[in-house]
Amino acid sequence: MWVLLYLLNFVFALLSAVPFSGFLSKSIGHSLANTNMLDGFDYTFISDLLREYGSRFSVVMNLSMGIILLFFIFSIFWMGGILSILKNEENDYSFRKFWQGSAVFFWKLTRLTFYFTFFQVVILGFFAFLFLQQGVSPFEVESEISIIKSIIILLPIYLFFATIFFMIQDYAKIHIVHDDSKFIFQPIKNAFRFVFRNFRKCLGLYLLNLLTFAAFFGIYWILSNSFNSNSTPTIALLFLVGQAFIFSRIAVKLLNLGSAMELFQIEAK
């Protein structure tokens, strides 16, 4: 499943990378300026490229946006399959089980995604409102220090609440797959109840998984910055490092869902 999810991610990304490569090759494939790209970010190069060939580039970008959206929808679809496999009640790890779970829970998980996205927007909007209430205009505040203080105080609180809702969403997904109830409000309610009953365990587990992700990102950051990718072998090496990070990112996602499922099953007994 891990490899399958990685391959799906890779293929979807490739769908936009191929036209992007075509765009670059056609626009600047014969230009010596091409080598400027090897030295990293080049403002003049990027500005000229976007200005002079921007219409072609926007086609590629629109396509890429479409692909991201499509992948998002498919990700909802796959989530049912992932959770069905992780539920693991019949020791059935087959593709059949995966696709069956994907199909069965798609609509419920779509609705759940919609509701929780709405919750996240409301939380973000609420904290943005609180932030703006403190004032950002030069006529309202004494100095930018008060803006910085607002950010320092509000940002962690916002992140805390956003994390709680992401966490509840994870347990709501598990409840949906586990209970297989007709409506999703009961699983959401159960998830809230479960998280608040086992708050320390749930939060600890979630933070541990976040930390794991941060560790993988740190390793990627150190590795990718340890050499200059300015030749074909180093470009290939950077590609491998990047793919290793994507692979680990998907692993953390599965780890998060799997560990939450495990916690749920232990506590439910």
């Binding site: 091409n34 490229l49 100095s143 990047g242 994507i246």
Partner: protein, 665 residues
């Protein structure tokens, strides 16, 4: 022996006395003695001015004209607000709370006792907008004869705006710029474009800045006793406490075109000395840590100008760093005083503090000393200043990272000007030569700042750094403490270029200035294709119908195939510049072609055993004005290593974006 000692003592005393009385640097036409009281309760300036004005011409001058800049904020129909619209932030304050600002002269007399106030009236030399009261004409009962001096005294009150553009108050921060009735510039016949003598005193417009006459200033500011004052000039004495909870600060400065000051109870003062020049920094407590950045960059800018032009001629330079609530007054230049902007929210890699400090300092030379008319020829100060800002910043921080160097994002200063200019919706919207208020579609800033810097950069690269440096130094030396026009600038450049490069540029660079300064042409040259075809013998039927000649590959005596190779170059823009084209063959041999750049397309052909590997137009990257640098070169075989790198990164970020959005599921 004794007499000798007395003689030497007297000699040194005289020399010392002479050196302390420095010769005037300027003609000192408009000299001010101002006593002003800052009323922080009423937000008013209550002042008395004595103006000594010298007629610089052979004309008999029958009036004086004054700028009353604060009247631009007096009503919604002023030319300033007509052009800009009422700022959204101020609408309530202005329209509902009636916080309009103004300046009013209450009386005026000359040194003959004549009452000048009776006949003074507003005029609108630019647009005839009767609601605009930013220029005051004062008829003189006794005209000023050629080279004669007149003394005028008047009381006036100024209502201070809430930080508007470059000036005003917010909370207890005050910055006083364009704050006093300021006499215009009388241009005698022959000066700049004047065919006959007359006042150059434009209304206050939304775009464009100022034009001032040189003179000496003595200003005494009375402010609440807990306030600290920062100002143009130096203090001849310590501030005097008046015993009524006010303090009077005195400042003096000679040979300047304007005077500005600021006051606040929260200013923290830091000082440093650079080669006898006192640098005084006034910041708010939360910005004190920026001190090192100011005191690091400013001496480097001073050093640059001392090396390339002349030593900074004044004894002091004051930096006022406004607080966040005074942000609208920041980033401006006045004689011996600059305002900057900084914010604790910005990381060190965003070099706005350094950029603004350098920019406003460069204005000390190009605007305050070489005192051009910013209303009519803003490129002469903003463009030249932006250019030198780029030169200094790029030299110190690197040409690819002198503006931003933060989290892998790097931008250079000079390249930012180029990007800014070409990213305009229409870079050909206006020439540099328009009056500031005539620029269409908000194009003033980009054309005057960025475009000018880009073509100055191109000019430097075309004529060579040495010649350019000599020309600019000559321009500065010839026109310091005077008022040059664009024509004067062009004349100096032409003179030095013709002297140094008589063969190459003949009479000078008029052909260049016609396009970049007075024209709107866009430059874009491209290498559009390369071809390498085998040379073959002729084929077909020629003299004898029975003999059909077949084509064959032509080879040289070594048995190598011969190729006919072509490089096609195109002029895609309407600007014409002489161009060099570098053609490189597969064996590494290089040829430099010269092209006058006039035709829309030209082909360079070669015959030999080597194929062309690549061709590059403008290989020394002289033409900074070229709109598209990506099409300046062409390789016969695609070179995709850079493409691969970007595709790799694009794909990685796509994968992360897809996974990142998946968090919502």
């Amino acid at each position: 022996m004794k007499y000798k000692l007395i003689f030497l003592f007297l000699l040194f005393t005289c020399l010392g006395f002479q050196s302390s009385k420095k010769a005037p640097l300027s003609a000192r036409i408009a000299n001010y003695d101002i006593q002003v009281k800052l009323d922080v309760e009423q937000k008013k300036l209550i002042a008395h001015t004595k103006l000594i004005w010298k007629n610089p011409s052979a004309d008999t001058v029958s009036d004086l004209q004054f700028h009353l800049y604060y009247n631009a904020f007096k009503n919604s129909e002023s030319t300033f607000f007509n052009e800009r619209g009422l700022p959204a932030l101020f609408k309530t304050s202005l329209q509902e709370d009636c916080n309009w600002s103004w300046v009013e002269i209450q009386n005026m007399t000359d040194n003959y006792g004549n009452d000048l106030a009776a006949n003074m009236h507003y005029i609108q030399p630019d647009d005839d907008n009767k609601s605009d009261q930013t220029v005051l004409r004062v008829p003189l009962p006794r005209p000023v004869l050629p080279n004669e001096t007149i003394e005028v005294e008047f009381d006036w009150i100024g209502k201070i705006p809430k930080t508007m553009i470059r000036t005003g108050y917010n909370k207890d921060f005050y910055f006083m710029a364009q704050w006093y009735p300021k006499v215009g510039v009388y241009e005698p016949a022959g000066m700049r474009y004047a065919e006959k003598g007359g006042w150059n005193c434009h209304q206050y417009h939304s775009s464009g800045e100022y034009y001032g006459e040189f003179g000496n200033y003595k200003v005494a500011m009375t402010v609440p006793e807990n306030y600290v004052v920062g100002s143009s000039g130096t203090q001849p004495n310590t501030p005097k406490n008046n015993g009524d909870q006010t303090t009077t600060w005195n400042f003096e400065v000679d040979d300047v075109i304007d005077f500005a000051w600021g006051a606040s109870p929260h200013f923290v003062e830091n000082k440093m000395n650079w080669k006898g020049i006192e640098i005084r920094l006034l910041t708010y407590p939360e910005h004190v840590h920026f001190k090192e950045r100011y005191f690091s960059i400013l001496p480097q800018a001073l050093e640059f100008f001392e090396e390339n032009f002349e030593k900074y001629p004044y004894p002091s330079l004051t930096i006022i760093a406004p607080p966040f609530h005074g942000i609208y007054t920041g980033g401006m230049e006045y004689p011996t005083l600059i305002t900057t902007l900084n914010s604790c929210l910005l990381p060190t890699g965003v070099r706005s503090t350094e950029i603004l400090t350098v920019h406003e300092f460069v204005h000390q030379y190009f605007q305050q000393i070489v005192a051009t008319n910013e209303m009519e020829e803003a490129w002469m100060d903003e463009g030249i200043t932006n250019f030198y800002e780029g030169v200094i910043m790029d030299k110190i921080y690197g040409e690819k990272s002198s503006t931003i160097d933060f989290m892998g994002i790097k931008t250079g200063n000079a390249e930012s000007d180029r990007v800014s200019y070409f990213n305009m919706e229409n870079p050909a919207i206006a020439p540099n030569s328009l009056n500031s208020w005539e620029f269409p579609g908000g194009s003033y800033h980009t054309i005057q700042y960025s475009k000018s810097a880009v073509w100055l950069n191109t000019l430097k690269r075309i004529v060579g750094e040495k010649t350019f440096k000599e020309a600019m130094k000559t321009y500065y030396s010839r026109w310091k403490f005077k008022h040059p026009s664009a024509k004067d600038f062009v004349d100096v450049i032409n003179e030095v270029v013709a002297k140094n490069h008589p063969e190459e540029f003949g009479e000078g660079m008029d052909w260049f200035f016609q396009q970049v300064l007075y024209g709107t042409e866009i430059c874009d040259y491209a290498v559009s294709s390369i071809s390498n075809n085998n040379k073959i013998t002729s084929s077909g039927i020629f003299d004898n119908l029975d003999e059909c000649e077949k084509s064959e590959l032509v080879k040289n005596e070594k048995g190598e195939e011969i190729f006919i190779s072509n490089v096609v170059v195109q002029r895609l823009g309407n600007m014409t510049l002489p161009m060099e084209i570098l053609v490189r063959f597969e064996d590494g041999k290089e040829i430099i072609e010269k092209w006058d750049g006039m035709a829309t397309m030209t082909t360079f052909s070669y015959e030999g055993s080597q194929k062309i590997e690549c061709a590059e137009i403008d290989p020394q990257h002289k033409i900074f004005l070229d709109k598209n640098l990506l099409n300046n070169s062409f390789t016969s075989k695609p070179n995709l290593s850079g493409v691969r790198k970007y595709v790799n990164e694009f794909m990685f970020w796509m994968q992360n974006a897809m996974e990142g959005l998946g968090m919502l599921i």
